[in-house]
Every structure is written in structure tokens, then in C-alpha cells.
Point group: C2
Chain length 130, copies 2
DNA sequence: CGGCATCCTATTGGATACTG
DNA sequence: CAGTATCCAATAGGATGCCG
């Protein structure tokens, strides 16, 4: 099985003596949180308004939706457009960079779907052995 | 830019009414934590002993190293081998499934390296605007 | 409708000390 | 060496109420 090269950890660690400056940690910390992937997945198909997202991701709190959207906007992955109607309407959509992120993200998602049965079995086996 | 299809969120949500059963959330919650990626990246090159890993990932605590290794082992991504020497020696290495995970992981890592400058700029711009 | 501010709880994770 | 156990601080995140 061909394995794409991962930058050696020693290089990652050496190059960024301050771990908070490591690009990988920096980016994955944000995108690996509880909600970012779900929001990006939703926006992959079409733009959404705030309330639409809230309903679509039914178990997210308003607080975390607001916060995660703001973080993703700060990172330049999504764009926020306010329509000054009454009542106000705010649309969120992926930026070009956000779209480019769908490529590695869908690779992860596909892997997760494909290996989830094996992972679940491994967990049960591990629990039995313990 | 071709975008691989992501399973529609509505399908993900509908198929797994209990969000904790969603494969994507389930797998990514574990692998998206603070240390899993670093450990897997280290083990991508060769097996490591516990103390070696501790030194390599210099800012991980012993507690989190133990715990993350156990979780990754439970998920079947790494294998743990005890050599009953004195003093004892324990080797960790990627399982075949762990190796297969390197494919999507390296895609994410590559994306992070490539887009980190743009993300940092976006963050600064966002901070200025606020 | 699309938020923000506050409070409060649960979880995460570091530091430290001890063990086979 | 390779952990385990305990304590404690920081953070994440839900619930609720208010606002333009």
C-alpha cells in the first residue's frame, strides 16, 4: 500500500520550537474540534443561513454555532454576508480555500466510513480483553 | 477544482439519529484530539518505545501519552508489544489499519502546510477588521 | 432572525508522587 | 522503563435571558 510521506515529526518539532506555531497543530486544532467538520460539510452543498444551519445540525447549541462560524470565518474558510432586510438575514458559504479543504476532508470522511466497522470491532475486542 | 463528494449531512444526521453513532464524528473525535496525529505521525516512520515517544513529542505529558496510546490501541490503529525484559520494554507500532490512515492524514497535513500562510493572513485581517 | 452576555457544569489535561 | 493514581487548573460547552 503506497503511503504518502508525512513530514517527519522531528522536522515539525525542530522547525517550530514553539509548538503553537506548528502549521499542522495550528490548523488541525481548529478543524478537528467538535463542530467544524459538520458545518463545513453542510456548507459543501450550498450556502446556509444561520437558522438553517442550527436546524440542520440539530444538536449544536446556538453558542457553539456562532463561535465556530466566527472562527472558520477568521481562518478564511467561510464567508459571511449580511442582507440588511427586516428581519435581518445572514448567509454563510465556503470560500475558495474552504472548498479546497473539502478534498482532504472527504478523504478523511471516506476513510472513517470505510473503517468504522473495523474500529468498532477493535473497541469491543479491546474491552473484552480488559 | 474537483471536489470529492462528502456524504450529505442530512444523510449523516438521518442515518444516525444518535449523533454518537455517526462514524465520522466517532472516528474524528478520537483522531482529531490534541495528540493522536502527532503520535501517529511519529509511528509512521518506525516503531517507538514509550520513553522514545515521550522524548520525541517533548511537550506531551506522561498522562496524555499513556491515555492516547491506549485509545489508539483500542481503536486498532496501533499495536502494543511488551518485551518482558528487566527493565521492561514496550514497543508501539502502527497496525495495517493505522498505516492505511496515513493516506488521508497526509492529505490533511499537506493541506495544512500549504494553506497555513493564507490562514494566518486571514486571521490577521479578521483581527484588524474587528 | 441572528446574534451577544452571563452563569454554571463537565471534560480536558498538566503536575506530582508512587509502583512493578 | 513504563506506567498508575490523585489532585487541581484551564477550557469547552450547554442553558438561559436579552437585544437590534
Amino acid at each position: 500500500m503506497p503511503v504518502s510521506p508525512i513530514a517527519p515529526l522531528s522536522q515539525m518539532m525542530a522547525e517550530y520550537s514553539d509548538p503553537s506555531q506548528c502549521p499542522v497543530r495550528n490548523v488541525l486544532d481548529q478543524l478537528g474540534d467538535k463542530w467544524s467538520v459538520l458545518i463545513i460539510s453542510a456548507l459543501a452543498h450550498r450556502p446556509y443561513r444561520f437558522g438553517e444551519l442550527k436546524r440542520e445540525i440539530s444538536d449544536i447549541s446556538q453558542r457553539m454555532l456562532t463561535q465556530t462560524l466566527r472562527d472558520l470565518q477568521a481562518d478564511g474558510l467561510i464567508e459571511r454576508t449580511v442582507f440588511p432586510t427586516t428581519p435581518p438575514s445572514v448567509e454563510y458559504k465556503l470560500s475558495p480555500m474552504g472548498h479546497s479543504f473539502l478534498v482532504p476532508l472527504s478523504a478523511m470522511v471516506d476513510w472513517a466510513f470505510e473503517h468504522f466497522p473495523a474500529i468498532r470491532e477493535a473497541r469491543q475486542e479491546f474491552a473484552r480483553a480488559a
